[in-house]
Symmetry: C2
């Protein structure tokens, strides 16, 4: 019997330490499609180790002892995209016994990124040559084979997004600081997968009272469209007693 095996027996019998805690993040943004309507896309990481070596997986890593789960998620996000999220909330803790060869509980977060941030960052990465080789963006309806239960996790994240867009303002998380009502409507259409009446959409969001009209316009091929700004006094979604997000710093 080796020292190592003695340690492992001791540990497993006294506490629950053979269970490891990981944090993963579903990072969503609107891809600027060339020509057609925008759609949702997310970054995946190609695994370099077993299990599931060479398969694509959600960005993430082990939770460290000195870090709150939400901070681990934000770190993950920074490491794969270099960006701060415009919205971040916990999705679910997945802990089925057989979801991994070893016992892993994954606390999964759910992040939205602004479209313009992603575009700028992608260009910067390409220019600098520091872009991580093993990270790639995928359309959510053209995903590759995924490691672990990550396909199911992404499916659940999309379900939550589509639900939440109905009773909160999370769609703003995809947009830059100033945007037209058509931009906002296209974001909703991309999330919901159906087209909305521009006239009625306008009235609904104006009635919401979360939009601040600016005196600037976006000029293009047709009549200029007024630019709006989001009222940052209100949260994108009411998270109740939890506040904006439980955090380690405080």
């Amino acid at each position: 019997m080796t020292l190592r095996s003695i340690m492992e027996v001791k540990v497993s019998m006294t506490r629950t330490e053979e269970i490891r805690v990981a944090v993963s993040t579903v990072i969503l943004t609107l891809r600027a499609s060339a020509g057609g309507e925008p759609g949702l896309s997310l970054p995946l990481v190609r695994r370099t180790r077993e299990p599931f070596a060479d398969r694509w997986a959600l960005p993430g890593g082990w939770l460290t002892a000195t870090e709150a789960p939400v901070d681990a998620s934000a770190r993950t996000l920074a490491e794969t995209t270099g960006l701060a999220p415009s919205y971040l909330e916990q999705l679910y803790a997945f802990g089925a016994v057989d979801r991994s060869p070893t016992r892993v509980v994954s606390i999964v977060y759910w992040a939205l990124l602004r479209q313009d941030d992603v575009v700028a960052q992608s260009a910067a990465h390409l220019a600098s040559g520091r872009a991580p080789e093993n990270v790639q963006w995928f359309d959510v309806d053209q995903l590759p084979e995924l490691a672990f239960d990550h396909a199911k996790i992404i499916e659940y994240a999309l379900w939550r997004l589509r639900n939440k867009v109905g009773y909160s303002r999370v769609a703003h998380g995809f947009l830059p600081a100033e945007f037209t009502l058509a931009d906002l409507r296209e974001a909703y259409e991309a999330i919901l997968g159906k087209s909305l009446d521009p006239a009625n959409f306008r009235r609904q969001v104006e009635a919401g009272g979360n939009l601040l009209p600016t005196d600037r316009f976006r000029t293009g091929n047709h009549r200029p469209a007024r630019l709006y700004r989001y009222n940052t006094d209100v949260e994108l979604a009411d998270r109740g007693p939890l506040g904006p997000e439980e955090s380690s710093t405080r």
Copy 2:
């Protein structure tokens, strides 16, 4: 340097095993108040050890290696109440670094119990004398001082319940198999903390199509009220791609 300290250093540097995973459950039911309107109540356990010895805490325990979190929650529930839940879903994973003296991530579940089950079980416990000494039911608006961050957790659970009752059928989780519309309305009123118009309430739930009228009536002091049965073909709440509940078995 002892063997124990060597082990702990080794473990902490290679993996995340100094983080332990606990499962706790907020178990809610409607208390049958003597005379007045019913209100929400939940069982708490008096702690016998440090930290927070003698303080009240949510029922729960360590997640074991061979058990899914949801099964650990159900086990917790059976141990403290002897009952199976009528509704059970994950609430949130709490993982702030300073929420406990040692590093603990708690996956918290949220359960509803039928009122009549609780009454019957409480009587049986009293008769048998096997009732756990250190378990006690509290009204949610008369809670004692709680251990850890459990007060905040309960607050969040109640917020979720009040939200969810608006767009799902979870209130049925408090009621027995057959019930009158007044029973159902009182459950909603207890959850929401406000009174509802009986006429409009009737039309709304009847339009929902989830109630099956029986040909039986409850006779009392006044005009008999028809008994209804819940249509068990539909879930109490749409949980999306996760299905009824992620489970270890299957």
